[in-house]
């Protein structure tokens, strides 16, 4: 991991309050990044925001030496990040966390299950899986049609099912409703999204081995402050989301 000051190449609105930010990253560094890892971003230059913001890595482009992030404007930090434009400097810790263990699994068909801002990290993961010859089916959940993004991008990887809470696009309901109605299954699943969604997914797919990407409020982002812990299944110890995660085996942690 390193602290990197680099340039924003573009900032584009791709859905309601949702922005795609492309950032220049040199090839040597890009090559060390695994799907599921995140960057920890400094907001502004002064002291107002002392904590960085964790954002998942959504895609890498080795040819153009760029990295893509997708984030939703949620509070003051993401609001300020959104004002960055091409040419502006951005200060990152990169790469953070462990990522999905794609080299360790044996699978022929994998389900990607993402909710809202949990969708972005699944995209680069899906690309890598497809490259390994693994079939990918994506289930993407959003609040509403205006929140949907990257549906077309995921279609280049395999089948895509969209669910919206209000039914304005795709299936009316949650990602778990899609799994039911479309009767989806795979050898493995990878999921990222709000805790309630992850719990529902874990319950629904309790027979399938899976990996979850968790969110927790962070301090350091590198494993030094113990802010971002999650209890292990036995309750006897904790793991750090920023360092041991954000990706965990579903059976490993308490949600």
């Amino acid at each position: 991991m390193k602290k990197l000051e680099t340039r924003v190449m573009s900032m584009e609105k791709i859905a309601q309050a949702t922005y795609q930010c492309v950032i220049h990253v040199e090839i040597d560094l890009l090559q060390t990044i695994k799907p599921g890892q995140f960057v920890h971003i400094k907001v502004g230059e002064g002291t107002e925001h002392m904590l960085r913001r964790p954002i998942s890595i959504c895609d890498l482009d080795f040819e153009n030496e760029t990295m893509t992030l997708i984030f939703k404007v949620f509070g003051q930090g993401t609001k300020q990040l959104q004002t960055l434009t091409a040419g502006d400097l951005i200060d990152l810790l990169i790469p953070c966390g462990n990522g999905y263990p794609i080299d360790e699994i044996e699978a022929s068909h994998v389900l990607l299950i993402g909710g809202g801002i949990g969708v972005p990290p699944l995209y680069y993961l899906g690309k890598q899986l497809v490259q390994k010859g693994i079939k990918v089916t994506s289930v993407l959940g959003f609040q509403s049609a205006s929140d949907v993004f990257y549906e077309e991008a995921f279609k280049t990887l395999g089948d895509v099912y969209v669910a919206t809470n209000d039914g304005s696009s795709g299936t009316h309901g949650f990602v778990t409703d899609v799994i039911d109605t479309a009767d989806l299954s795979g050898d493995y699943y990878f999921s990222c999204g709000p805790t309630l969604m992850l719990q529902a997914v874990e319950t629904k797919l309790s027979d399938t081995p899976g990996y979850l990407s968790l969110e927790e409020r962070m301090g350091c982002g590198i494993g030094a402050c113990y802010a971002c812990v999650v209890k292990t299944t036995d309750g006897a110890s904790t793991k750090k989301v920023c360092q041991d995660g954000p990706v965990f085996k579903a059976s490993e942690v308490q949600l």
Binding site: L51, R52, E216, R217, C220, G223, C225
Partner: protein
């Protein structure tokens, strides 16, 4: 750079900069960013007698120019720390300050006793952690109890003891004097101010623990004031902390009366902050007309 050297009880510091306890774990993570031998010292995370899992999350919240934390003294217990965490630091040329916490005076004693078999250079006696319900903070708010813990830990320890003072008191000078009389070799100050943030959506305190410790630049003026007053009242050295993120900040603490400083929250903003400050400090000393760190200590006092 000999102009940065400071000698304190048990600590021959090559420079006055060290990470603050709880913000640097046991160093391993930050060793990815720079050579830890560069640091004056390292204040490692609090140790209790037994393993503690700490508070439920959320444990941190951002506030304006600061943050709240309620980690709750999560640590693997003093024995595991000695066996599994401190050996890594032994490979660097840097004195280690252990942070000793507990819920009872006996626990403080036991932790200090356990640390006799480690190679630490000093103890930081944490009588001021606001995030543990059973105990902790009371020890830091009553001069007599503070003195008693200090006395007992001094007896148990085989290294100098620095007492970490809580700012959440009416009269910090009284506590400082009491622990000095009780045998403290030095003081470290300030720990966090007790604060709270409320989650407007969830309609409850944002931190699961309710209250948390406020740190970062927001609290610097409080730290400077307390160090300034304590410096005039005691004859033991002070390691200052609270909102430091630049070499100018360090000089302000030196002028207030600190002999060395610790950097906490700013490590999260910039993992290289301690290293950057060490690089900048000679220039800042020079800019403001000081020959050395020791030359600046206490020089902000009107009668200095």
């Amino acid at each position: 750079m000999s102009l940065l050297k400071v000698d304190l009880p048990g600590l021959a510091l090559k420079n006055p900069i060290m990470p603050a306890s709880g913000c640097f774990s046991f160093g391993k993570e930050y060793s990815q960013f720079y050579d830890l031998s560069k640091l004056g010292s390292i204040m490692v995370k609090a140790a209790t007698l037994h393993k503690r899992l700490g508070n439920d999350t959320p444990r941190v919240a951002e506030t304006k120019s600061g943050m709240l934390n309620a980690i709750g003294l999560q640590n693997p217990g003093v024995e595991t720390i000695i066996d599994q965490e401190l050996p890594f630091l032994a490979s660097f040329d840097v004195p280690v300050i252990a942070n000793v916490a507990g819920s009872t005076i006996e626990e403080y004693e036991q932790v200090a006793t356990a640390l006799r078999r480690s190679n630490i250079a000093a103890i930081e006696l944490n009588i001021s952690c606001p995030n543990v319900k059973e105990g902790g903070v009371q020890f830091g708010t009553d001069p007599e109890i503070a003195a008693e813990v200090t006395r007992r830990v001094k007896q148990a320890a085989n290294v100098p003891v620095y007492v970490k003072l809580s700012p959440n008191v009416t009269d910090i000078v009284a506590i400082a004097k009491a622990v000095e009389v009780a045998g403290a070799d030095g003081l470290t100050m300030i720990n966090t101010l007790t604060g709270m943030a409320i989650d407007l959506k969830k309609r409850r305190p944002l931190l699961n623990n309710g209250v948390g410790g406020l740190s970062g630049p927001a609290i610097k003026p409080v730290a400077i004031r307390m160090i300034y007053h304590v410096y005039e009242a005691v004859n033991i050295p002070i390691i200052g902390m609270g909102g430091i993120r630049s070499a100018e900040d360090v000089l302000e603490f030196l002028l207030a009366g600190a002999s060395a400083v610790a950097v906490g929250t700013a490590n999260f903003e910039n993992p290289l902050v301690c290293s950057d400050i060490i690089d900048d400090l000679p220039f800042v000393l020079n800019k403001y007309g000081f020959d050395s760190v020791t030359d600046a200590i206490g020089k902000g006092h009107v009668d200095a």
